[in-house]
């Protein structure tokens, strides 16, 4: 049975005066298996982040959206989000930030400390545990963000363009790091991006979304072997997928 079931989900935003509504996502259907890595790619305004927020329980939706068979009615400890870097608490150290999710779950003090240390080590920030976010590079801040989400021990890891603010090279390194961590933890992962290569490189399946209105256009299985490497991105199979996806996205921009 799929872990996440999205059936005919639509999401609309009301303007503050509730006079007009804007349809961000229309009639989305998707099923995600446990331990799967799914990326969602699409042009800006296609509703990909909105769909992720709905899964996170942060925005209301119409339709059916279940996790392990239970309808999503709000945020829960079964899910955790990796945000863009502005979501770290600037007055807390790396260690303090990684603790945050566990503190919200009211876990015992000792447990929180050990778990935070474990995940700080996993993302390679041991030496920086006492630093404040303002003292770290963009890439390091995103490692903190990943560690914070993982420390909360979710079944599903939701990532909203987590590397969007990084330069191309750091982005590539972080993608590799993310896969290494994911392979060790084997959480279900949903990753939103507008970068096609990133979407292919990370995913078991790529969900392609289009806009006007925001909707799921297609789901493409990526059959590249696991233990993905940077070199794979030069292989014909990868380039083939890239061409297909680019053509899809171009339709929308025309």
């Amino acid at each position: 049975m799929p872990q996440i079931q999205i059936e005919d989900v639509s999401i609309s935003y009301g303007s503050p005066d509730a006079k007009t509504t804007f349809k961000a996502v229309v009639g989305a259907n998707l099923a995600i298996e446990p331990g799967e890595f799914v990326t969602i790619v699409g042009p800006s305004g296609c509703g990909k982040s909105t769909l992720l927020s709905a899964i996170a329980g942060l925005v209301p939706y119409d339709g059916r959206l279940t996790i392990n068979g239970a309808a999503v009615t709000g945020p829960g400890p079964d899910r955790a989000i990796v945000f863009q870097d502005a979501s770290l608490l600037p007055w807390r150290t790396v260690h303090g930030n990684v603790r945050f999710g566990l503190e919200m779950q009211r876990k015992p003090r000792k447990f929180i400390r050990e778990r935070a240390e474990h995940f700080i080590e996993m993302v390679g920030l041991n030496a920086f545990a006492r630093y404040y976010p303002g003292q770290l590079s963009g890439g390091m801040r995103q490692r903190v963000n990943i560690a914070r989400a993982l420390a909360a021990d979710p079944q599903v890891l939701l990532m909203d363009e987590p590397f969007g603010a990084l330069d191309a090279q750091t982005r590539e390194i972080m993608g590799g790091e993310l896969l290494r961590i994911w392979e060790a933890e084997r959480k279900t992962a949903i990753f939103v991006t507008h970068d096609i290569e990133e979407a292919i490189f990370l995913a078991d399946r790529v969900v392609v979304m289009g806009r006007n209105p925001g909707r799921i256009k297609d789901v493409i299985r990526i059959d590249l072997p696991r233990r993905r490497t940077v070199e794979m991105q030069e292989e014909p199979a990868f380039l083939d997928l890239k061409r297909r996806l680019r053509a899809y996205l171009a339709e929308d921009l025309a």
Partner: protein, 251 residues
């Protein structure tokens, strides 16, 4: 503020220079000691009053009033500012009263406090609270209102309860601004205590200035005036240090 960088050396030069000019002008007979006393006389009077314990008594009296007033103004200002920042109804409810306090030089209410509380510490404290409350409230409100919605969303996604949002996000995020409000409040609370003491009290630095003025004791009056000026400088420096500490994560 870059002005703080002005070196201590230059400050010392100007301080010594002023004392020298003051003493020279009096010694040369350019100004009557009756009007300005002289640094030497002031120094002697300071030591004498220190021996008698006069200085300590009045300093303590003012310090206690100041501390009580500052504590009340800070806790009330922060509590109200927090409540107003979290709930717009509270903000709107308080708005007209805050505007009134903000535009009214609080000293205009002093005679009212005297009518209610008589002369003495309660009136000094009430005046000082009125002086110091608004900047602390206003800064706290601004701090809470400007908490990044991204942080609130993040906390919410991890299952934060309303109390968590308040204690772990809104409060720490507003600390630098709250401290900024307290920096403004320190000077105003000091002014409130001293002005109230000046008008009517039986102890305190402000009282001592007015009392000695009444008997034309210029030297003793000068001792207390200078003491107040020094207290102001020390308090401001101390608050600046606290502010730097509260901000240490900003790099």
């Amino acid at each position: 503020m870059t002005l703080r960088r002005s070196s201590w050396a230059l400050g010392l030069v100007s301080f010594v220079g002023l004392l020298a000019i003051w003493q020279a002008a009096v010694s040369a007979g350019l100004i009557g000691a009756y009007y300005v006393s002289s640094p030497i006389a002031v120094g002697e009077a300071f030591v004498a009053m220190l021996r008698e314990g006069t200085i300590q008594r009045h300093f303590t009296a003012s310090a206690i009033s100041f501390l009580i007033a500052f504590a009340i103004a800070t806790s009330a200002g922060v509590a109200l500012g927090m409540a107003a920042g979290m709930f717009r109804t509270v903000e709107r409810t308080l708005d007209p009263f805050v505007w009134f306090l903000y535009s009214t030089p609080a000293i205009a209410l002093y005679p009212l406090f005297v009518a209610w509380l008589g002369f003495g510490r309660p009136t000094s404290v009430a005046t000082a609270v009125m002086f110091a409350l608004t900047p602390i409230y206003a800064n706290t409100l601004t701090g809470v209102k400007n908490v990044s919605p991204q942080l609130m969303r993040m906390a919410h996604s991890f299952g934060a309860r309303p109390m968590d949002l308040f204690v772990r996000i809104a409060l720490p995020a507003s600390v630098p601004l709250i401290v900024g409000g307290m920096q403004l409040g320190v000077g105003r609370a000091l002014a409130g205590v001293l002005v109230a003491e000046l008008f009517g009290a039986n102890a305190g630095l402000g009282f001592s200035i007015a009392y000695n003025a009444q008997y034309m004791r210029t030297t003793k009056m000068m001792v207390f005036i200078l003491l107040v000026i020094v207290c102001g400088l020390v308090l401001t420096r101390a608050m600046a240090a606290v502010s730097a500490m509260s901000d240490r994560w900003r790099t």
